[in-house]
Symmetry: C2
Subunit: 550 residues, 2 copies
């Protein structure tokens, strides 16, 4: 490329900048940008939720090279409005119901600004003690809100369950490691597994069906593990997930999953490690003491099916590391009426939550509780003269660099602290309940329309539904009539494209068994009842138009 | 822990919050916080650069639990000032000279605010086309500023050098992979290697000495690789680094390194992969055409020692992937007078830069250019129904989820775009030159004091020096008199503790060979000449006090 234009540093620079962190400039630009974003939230409903631009739209609009001279912030903001905004898919829109929420908040934003303002690199305690210590405190606060056992908390008594298994196996066992997943999570889990060096041939995809509610049955799991152990293999990792809301979660949780895997791999010469995920399918409606086949879809008695306890029992028998990832729903567990979903958690080794999804904390903020942090530290700690300091040497402090892969680390705790304090436990609970209530409303609206079907029971604030080509559509599906299934899938795909193309709402699809499903995830901070009822009206209108063509 | 206080949701909530993203609240809190941070920058010199708090200081100051009711932002900001500020190590202070710069800027901050405000999760093109497209454009802009060959740019012609080597080796070769490093980078590189599943026995630490200027000699490297290949092993990764400014960089670059490794591992069944880092030791002063032993420490003719070209030649002979990481200094390569440091880059496969260090972009912003992205995509792409969409299926767009480990992704390009536009190429070059000029000044000041020694030549804006117990201190060192060496190290350790303890400046240490060195890294945005001369005065004062006791 020709960059001759950069080759001569001529001095006729209209804007010579000597201090890019000038406090007066900071004040002026900062206030400008606050108003810009405040106006954005004020007018957010005017934008099409899903961006309707065509590929490479931006390349045609922006210059080929960076400007040689400085450009004023006002010009740049005009370009953000003119060129960037059309390419934004508005996750903060009250009409955003796709994938999972990315629920922003004023407190989260303010917290992010503070950590960006300080811009400290908190890789060890000394590099900014407040960053490390506030993180410990805030994790304990949230852990208490979730009623996690003390053993998960920094100021609790800690665990040590792994120590007795140290140095049992050799690193050369890596070829024997086995990862278990369901047919719902294949590609995702396999990415994690392969990155961690698991042989593809040792990746087990345990088939799940509607009859097993797309969830892993502990017994079949135990059987599979046993046969592998008999074959001299080492069970490393299990990820039991269900079709709809887990598919995304596995991917969202990939980083934590991988940290487990890296650790597992690194720890291999010391112990067996594995990972279990809670099957949200547990929330399927089963009669008390009912068997896998007997289902009652009208009651909701969670965890009669795959309670955490029994899962931990299986794990314990194989000396397996249990990681509980109840996915985006976890934040709801701060509400007393939902907490029982994680009863039995005391048997697990680690637990994770994405606060940047449904907890009003801006991207990104993954919380991971570990019973025995020494397992992480053993595998991830580094010590070079360059990083040595009295505090670390004194062993009185912890250095988060030893808990993670990278050295760099933002002041992450700040925004979570702001969210917890500026809203408080009571409001946070009520805000989550508000979303669940709206999801119930949406579910009821769908239920009232015989043209539609709730394909899977509602999990917290996620409703999975589809339109039926005919009232008989489902029979065809049940009887496995391929044509009927295909017709239903085609129809729902068209419906989703049609509503998303309108720019008025944005929802996303998934496949459950062979059925193409539409997911409505309620959790955007700005969403109110009126948006939910409007979304449903739009869906009905577009469905009517489509069905009239059939 | 007792969380009974949370067990009853009584309704007497003083602050009931129904919309945490209320635009009016956003405006009010946003303006408050802008003034808070602006004041912080205005008064930043009043704070002790290195936090002087004791371990667990914060636990004693904050409540044990999250508040049940909402707390006003004003109260929280008072607590930030009262409780958090003392625990901050002020990376933005003009008197911060430790580790590496974390150079913030108004434009970087504003960009971060915008991406936080939009709070989009840009895992694929469709989830916010602008996020993906702006990133491609900005990476090309910066690539052009660095004069990278077209083959590294999105809108260049791309590479494909790896294709011919596909499916040559089996995954079971993982036990044969060899990673090469120098004795300067051991613990760090080993962390990366182990996480990626490299057997510790296949981790080669090639000894470097002062006589080889702590840099890897291509010939000895070639010999080591050859003997491994003859032994049937597979060279995967080489990291050639030098003592001072690389130690940190290896750790900072860990993530990129690991991405290379993950990829390498995942690609193993397809190709040989390795990784070379440019040895900043190249910037040691060597006579033109001089051999390794002959040194002239008064001239500066870089790259007579380890030019990129020859390194790529070695790599090519072994079909090795070459990654160039010239570390924090890279941003200086946008200046014509420094660009020759990366002459020969066209022979490399990938190139990385940390814009969050010395490029006025807030944490975090790592830029990675890859000649053949298909190598990454082959190993890191996932495809589930949940993420499928017309745009991705059309293959007209790229999805960054396939370039990285995690799914979640912030709108990273925004802040880099703001920095490039709001400052422009001319200012960015001059700002970097200003830092180099100040480092030259500091180097001169040290050079004028016979009690001090520049232990390693200045690299860009990094000066490495130490105080000498006596003018004869160095002789002792040269003769390897352990006592002398120890005495010098003890003295410099005390000096560093003394100046850092004063809270007036903050510098960090490193070991070069057996010598304890003090590093002065100039790059904080607010640093001016007066801060550099003041820092030097402080060092002299503290040194005099210490030496008077000897």
């Amino acid at each position: 490329m020709d960059s001759l234009k950069f080759d001569h540093d001529h001095e006729n620079n209209s804007h010579i900048i000597t201090n890019p962190l000038n406090p007066q400039e900071f004040r002026r630009h900062g206030h400008l940008i606050i108003d810009f974003i405040a106006n954005y939230y004020q007018n957010i409903e005017k934008y099409q939720v899903l961006s309707q631009v065509k590929p490479c739209y931006l390349q045609k609009l922006l210059p080929e090279s960076a400007p040689y001279h400085a450009e004023p912030i006002e010009t740049i903001l005009q370009d953000v409005q003119k060129y960037i905004m059309p390419g934004i898919t508005h996750w903060q829109s009250p009409n955003y119901f796709a994938y999972f929420p990315s629920s922003g908040s004023v407190a989260g934003f303010v917290g992010e600004m503070l950590s960006t303002g300080f811009n400290v690199v908190g890789f060890n305690w000394m590099s900014s003690p407040a960053a490390t210590e506030l993180e410990c405190i805030v994790m304990d606060w949230l852990g208490e809100m979730l009623k996690l056992p003390k053993s998960f908390l920094f100021y609790g008594n800690g665990g040590g369950v792994l120590d007795q298994m140290l140095s049992q196996f050799g690193r050369d066992k890596i070829g024997n490691l086995v990862v278990y997943g369901s047919n719902q999570t294949h590609s995702v889990l396999q990415k994690a597994a392969q990155i961690a060096g698991i042989y593809p041939k040792n990746f087990r995809v345990i088939k799940t069906t509607k009859s097993t509610l797309y969830g892993l049955c502990p017994n079949s799991l135990r059987a599979t593990i046993q046969s592998d152990v008999q074959a001299g293999l080492v069970p490393l990792f299990l990820c039991a997930t269900e079709g709809q809301d887990q598919l995304q979660e596995d991917q969202e949780q990939l980083q934590e999953d991988q940290e487990q895997l890296y650790e597992g791999q690194e720890q291999l010469q010391k112990e067996y490690v594995s990972h279990l995920e809670i099957d949200l399918r547990q929330k399927w409606k089963i009669e008390k003491h009912g068997d896998d086949e007997k289902q009652d879809h009208n009651t909701n008695t969670p965890f009669e099916f795959h309670p955490i306890g029994p899962l931990c029992e299986v794990a314990k028998d194989f000396g397996i590391w249990v990681h509980i990832d109840a996915a985006y729903a976890e934040s709801a567990f701060i509400c007393l009426e939902f907490r029982h979903f994680i009863d039995g958690i005391e048997g697990a080794n680690s637990f994770s939550l994405n606060a940047h999804k449904w907890f009003f904390t801006t991207l990104d903020c993954c919380c991971l509780w570990v019973k025995d942090p020494s397992a992480l530290i053993k595998s991830l700690s580094t010590n070079t003269e360059f990083l040595r300091n009295k505090a670390s040497d004194s062993k009185q402090v912890m250095d988060y660099k030893d808990w993670q892969i990278t050295l760099s680390r933002r002041f992450q705790a700040m925004k979570l602290w702001l969210v917890l304090r500026n809203y408080g436990v009571a409001n946070l609970r009520n805000l989550l309940r508000r979303h669940v209530k709206m999801a119930k409303l949406f579910e009821e609206l769908v239920g009232l329309d015989s043209q539609f079907e709730i394909i899977a029971p509602r999990n917290f604030a996620l409703v999975c539904f589809r339109v039926l080509p005919s009232p008989k559509g489902m029979d065809g599906y049940e009887k496995g009539e391929a044509k009927q299934v295909e017709r239903a899938n085609e129809l729902n795909k068209k419906l989703l494209e049609s509503i998303n193309g309108s720019g008025k709402v944005y929802m996303s699809p998934t496949m459950v068994d062979r059925a193409y499903i539409i997911r409505c995830a309620i959790g955007a901070t700005l969403t109110e009842e009126r948006h939910v009822t409007m979304a449903w009206k739009i869906i009905q209108e577009h469905a009517d138009t489509l069905l009239s063509k059939y």
